[in-house]
């Protein structure tokens, strides 16, 4: 049985970052129309990412010797919360700042750290993550992209798919098989940092249903990787991948994906559209948001203390994405409740985007069904 988490709060020293972030965002973000801000962490703007880097807000948790700010996870929590609530276009640096950088810091060699981390912090080096393959989704251990050792490095063949921002990124950190066969499952998998400008890498963007091309298929044909492309230990890829997942599942990005839409709607309510049913729905959504945020902060606090609340993080992600998906579903009903009233077009465009993309919220980073399986295991059912 799971023990209850103690409530926790963000330390005052980390809260102290908030006003400067808000001031910066107030200057840079409001001119972006709501349907673009609704892209949340899928909105790409390399210039904006470099501007954040200029403020010292990329790699906030990396040590100062690598160009970071040496802050704790709660400082980054505050930053991410404000970025997502505002609908800032964070996608360019998102993966590097959130996953690739911390992975290199934890498992990389000193040379890899010195090369990559300062570039990430300056917003010059963007990363993507190569996990899924055409025949590998939730069953991640079945990856068949293969790196074969040869003189001076590795020869890479295979394909990754649904790779967010591959066509905008400089590097991919990919989970590939370096020994054995798919029957060996979790054994024989390794992680490589792949320079996407190398010969033999072919990137084909895939158009999504909202008209964007945020993800791609990446094919590797006899790509020759240098020796130092391997990150961490050969054969330890599976453990390394799982080590990053708890942070990835319980942060503000699992609660705030529909925040721009919610706040656009609130703006309309404040402009005179509030009726009894809308007011009650607003209260309901605020209550859910408050409870989810308290859970997310409590899980982050456990992570800060060096614990590994894997099941609790899965709970936050499943409940959080359910909330994110409920916002557009409930607002479609609300905004159509009075057929004689036309809501603002910008609000409807934000709704259209969010409704269309909301199914992805419970796919990315582990599907709902996989997460519920993890929770069931945590409850001793399997």
């Amino acid at each position: 049985m799971l023990a209850a988490l103690p409530l926790s709060a963000i330390p005052a020293e980390d809260e102290a970052l908030r006003p400067a972030i808000r001031a910066f965002l107030a200057e840079h973000v409001p001119q972006i129309p709501p349907e673009r801000r609704a892209r949340s962490w899928m909105g790409f703007d390399a210039g904006f990412s470099r501007a954040l880097g200029g403020q010292g807000w990329l790699g906030l948790t990396f040590p100062e010797e690598y160009g970071g700010a040496g802050r704790g996870p709660f400082a980054r929590y505050v930053l991410v919360e404000e970025l997502l609530a505002a609908g800032a276009p964070v996608s360019a640096h998102w993966i590097a700042d959130r996953q690739s950088g911390p992975l290199i810091l934890r498992f990389g060699t000193e040379a890899q750290r010195r090369f990559h981390l300062p570039r990430i912090c300056r917003g010059e080096s963007f990363f993507c993550i190569g996990m899924s393959e055409p025949d590998t989704g939730s069953d991640l251990a079945s990856v068949s992209t293969r790196a074969v050792r040869e003189a001076g490095g590795w020869r890479l063949n295979g394909a990754k798919i649904w790779t967010t921002n591959a066509h905008h990124s400089h590097y991919m950190i990919a989970l590939v098989r370096s020994s054995g066969t798919a029957q060996d499952r979790h054994k024989g998998l390794s992680q490589f940092i792949i320079d996407l400008s190398l010969p033999g890498v072919r990137i084909s963007p895939i158009r999504d249903l909202a008209g964007d091309a945020h993800f791609s298929e990446v094919v590797f044909e006899d790509v020759l990787l240098p020796e130092d492309a391997l990150v961490g230990e050969e054969g330890a890829g599976w453990a390394q991948v799982n080590a990053e997942l708890a942070f990835e599942r319980s942060g503000p990005e699992r609660v705030l994906s529909s925040a721009v839409l919610l706040d656009e709607w609130i703006g309309w309510l404040r402009a005179g559209a509030a009726d009894a049913a809308s007011t009650a729905l607003l209260g309901r959504l605020l209550g859910h948001l408050a409870v989810l945020r308290a859970m997310s902060v409590a899980v982050t606090d456990r992570l800060v203390r060096g614990e590994s609340p894997v099941v609790e993080a899965a709970l936050v992600k499943d409940l959080g994405t359910e909330f994110e998906q409920a916002v557009p579903a409930l607002l479609e009903d609300r905004l159509g409740a009075d057929p004689a009233r036309e809501p603002p077009a910008a609000l409807l465009r934000a709704l259209a985007y969010t409704s269309a993309m909301a199914p992805s919220y419970s796919l990315r980073g582990g599907t709902r069904e996989i997460l519920r399986g993890m929770i069931a295991r945590g409850m001793g059912l399997r």
Partner: protein, 337 residues
């Protein structure tokens, strides 16, 4: 006493005095004297009364484990209600009378009238007055109207010379007492459901081995976990209500827990199958508490509307800013040893 010790003491007390058979007997109208005497002896009913006035001087968040434990046992007692009423009486410098105090939801009428829990002991009823404040009325002076298990409607010929309490948000106080018990009941119901799923076998294996059942119980786990955090949020001190309650946090928690209760009770019953519908199986002790609790002191509809209106009354432009300012624990200051 630390949270843990207090929780353990409460769990032991309720295991001894509020086992399912005892709970059923009280619900059917039997006496609750032994259970209440044990609660009094442990000092639980005076948990929120300042030490100077003879209580334990606990904060709401410190007393929460006791209320969760009472909910886990489905103990039919106005324990949270008495805690809050006694804290308010002591705070107003009024004498605290012996015996359990039930909080009432005020109902309109020519005479003092209100609704209290249908089962469980009550020597006194704290009835909010239409013009603000509240009366403390003797329970045995009331006439009982046609009522249901959701609550007994009582009325008094007049308030007489009842003690009068100053203005306070008694609806939020009652909602807190109710939601804390519900959060405890949800946890116990989840444990019972997991246990049953492991014992009950079909197709040659425990039903817990089936993915369809696992996914349902995972969903229930999420709601129970959310309900517990919601109760902890509601118990944060620092508000201007009874014993430091804050109405906005209570609103969010009561509505969230009400939603969790409805969904989780449905899953618990689905997993228990036809056995769960029998009188013999204890499941209905918790599901019954949850259904009654949803309705008492404002259901989701009431508190959601209140919270939405509260947001619109304020100046926050964004949902997150409101949540941080009104519905979150305050930032932690660095403490120097």
């Amino acid at each position: 006493m630390t949270d843990d010790l207090l929780a353990r003491a409460a769990a032991e007390l309720f295991a001894r005095h509020a086992a399912p058979a005892a709970v059923r007997a009280i619900q059917e109208g039997g006496p609750a004297d032994a259970l209440w005497a044990a609660v009094e002896e442990a000092g639980f009913a005076d948990a929120l009364v300042p030490e100077a006035a003879g209580g334990a001087g606990l904060a709401l968040s410190e007393a929460l484990p006791v209320l969760l434990a009472a909910g886990r046992a489905a103990a039919p007692l106005p324990l949270g209600e008495t805690m809050l009423a006694r804290a308010a009486l002591a705070g107003a410098g009024l004498e605290v009378p012996p015996g359990p105090i039930a909080l009432a939801e005020a109902l309109p009428g020519e005479v003092p009238r209100g609704r209290i829990a249908a089962a469980g002991p009550a020597a006194w009823v704290l009835l909010p007055r239409p013009e603000g404040g509240a009366w403390l009325l003797p329970a045995d002076g009331a006439t009982r109207e046609d009522s249901s298990s959701y609550g007994a409607v009582l009325r008094w010929a007049s308030a007489g010379n009842a003690r009068a309490l100053p203005q306070a948000d008694w609806l939020a106080a009652g909602a807190f007492a109710t939601l804390a018990g519900m959060a405890g009941a949800l946890e116990r119901m989840l444990e019972e459901t997991v246990r049953y799923a492991g014992e009950r076998r079909q197709f040659g294996r425990p039903i817990a081995a089936f993915q369809a059942v696992q996914q349902q119980i995972s969903l229930m786990t999420e709601d129970v976990f959310a309900a517990r955090i919601a109760a902890q949020l509601a118990a944060l001190p620092g508000g201007s209500g009874v014993a430091g309650l804050d109405t906005a946090r209570v609103a969010a928690a009561k509505a969230r827990i009400g939603e969790a209760a409805s969904r989780a009770a449905g899953i618990a019953h689905a997993v228990h199958g036809a056995m769960g519908i029998t009188a013999e199986v204890d499941l209905h002790l918790w599901t019954g508490l949850l259904h009654r609790g949803r309705l008492r002191f404002g259901a989701e509809g009431h508190w959601n509307a209140w919270l939405g209106a509260e947001f619109l009354r304020g100046a926050d432009a964004e949902s997150l800013a409101f949540v941080r300012a009104r519905l979150a624990p305050p930032p932690l200051e660095e403490t120097t040893p």
